[in-house]
Symmetry: C2
Subunit: 302 residues, 2 copies
Amino acid sequence: MTLPAGFERAMARDRDAVDARLQAIATARVSDHPRIGEALVYALAAGGKRIRPLLCLWTHDLCAGRENAATRAAALEAACAIECVHTYSLVHDDLPCMDDDDLRRGRKSLHRQFDEATAVLTGDALLTLGFELLGSVDVPATVALETIRVLAAAAGTGGLISGQALDLELTGKPDTTRVEVVERIHERKTARLIAAAMETGAVVAQPGDAGIRERARRAGLMAGSAFQIVDDVLDMTGDAATLGKTPGKDRQAGKRTYAAAVGTAAALEAARERVAQALRELPEAAGTPLAGLFDFVAERRR
Amino acid sequence: MTLPAGFERAMARDRDAVDARLQAIATARVSDHPRIGEALVYALAAGGKRIRPLLCLWTHDLCAGRENAATRAAALEAACAIECVHTYSLVHDDLPCMDDDDLRRGRKSLHRQFDEATAVLTGDALLTLGFELLGSVDVPATVALETIRVLAAAAGTGGLISGQALDLELTGKPDTTRVEVVERIHERKTARLIAAAMETGAVVAQPGDAGIRERARRAGLMAGSAFQIVDDVLDMTGDAATLGKTPGKDRQAGKRTYAAAVGTAAALEAARERVAQALRELPEAAGTPLAGLFDFVAERRR
């Protein structure tokens, strides 16, 4: 893949900014309760790809410019809020009663490193933190409230919750390979939160062109779909060291995946087509780091 | 106890309004995912005392008058949001890895009626729902945002989360009877959310006297402390049929309780003193249903 000039640098710089802010947020909670604070620091430690925060930040930059210091600080907070909610979903999904996963981001999953009760509570704390951050973001109240609505809808029973519930419920059932079912799970479990990352980036930017918010949301759904398709492929073809999580789990668990339904090559082609579609929704992103991130999502190897 | 005239009627009427609205909220989620929707209906079914929603509604009424239809509708939404967050904390606290409780509100706890994964997800959904409801409440954006900040602070690591974490952590430890430790757990686990119920009631009422919000919060901390002290006493003296949950669990689990530290009679006296203090914070509540609710909290038998 050919990434736009400056992509790697922009990615490293903004990922560092997100990592630093997340660590500050977690560290500030240690005084509330040392063990939960420590677990928050662990859960939010660098190591994740930070795709969602970068999508939020770079959608902001597309709408308001990277140099818009006031709204960019707000976008960083929103980006961290989204990552908190994403991380909460990983922590709870890894629990023994859910996907029962021991490995996450190359380290022990949270309930293995600490214990189950701490994992439940830390997930709860991360979800609460997402809304707390958006509630205090330095933008007009109507704008902050809008980001809260967007996040609540993506995280709620129409999004993350039913995505995971469907995934658990249909695991091991005979209709494993029906692509529509897989797509429904992907949309709720992954794409809606990725769309929310882009939409909140647009919302805090307060662009003159109101239509860009809806286009950003649709682009996010496409990018999110591509992301999850590639995730499924990597589960089939990757190794634990590269992935930082247990590979082959999906098949072992009898999970329905897109790659299993249509084959690896067709799945990767579909992922490429989705990110092309995302770029068609947001043609102004061409040549920017955001377009590079779309490509990265489709071509990544971990 | 002598309750204000009309107290029982006001309680029944507003509890019915809360129950009806909560059922409507839960039922609307069934189409998102039938099992999670069903679990939400189960979790939010009538049977709870609805102390927090009533405190929210009646603090509103104290500040803006019951007849203020616009803000009262907003107070009902806020009351339901608080109850969703309270219910989430019960569902997660009952999990096997936490307090491992089979009985709640006279029925099987959620993970016993459904399964653990559904209980984790339904708790997550209830927490998200709390913020979703406040995000859409029909008041000026600054007011809605304020309620979100109040709820996030009460539910976060400074409140519910560390309250439960401390409770788990100190259970069975030798310093069980130190009253200060018990009080710290009570404040975080119970009193802050009860204070948030009253504070959000005051916030949505948008009273001319800004000071009443802070007084309502302080009164809530007192009432919350009284509530938890009585809860501990009932755990020692009540039976499952009256309580709707397993009695004697605290002692069995080696939990620190106020009643164990100072004795039942002194504990009940302390509870009465706290609600008297709550009323001194809000003298305008004298003779209203809110004052009756304070007394109810201190004198209740379930």
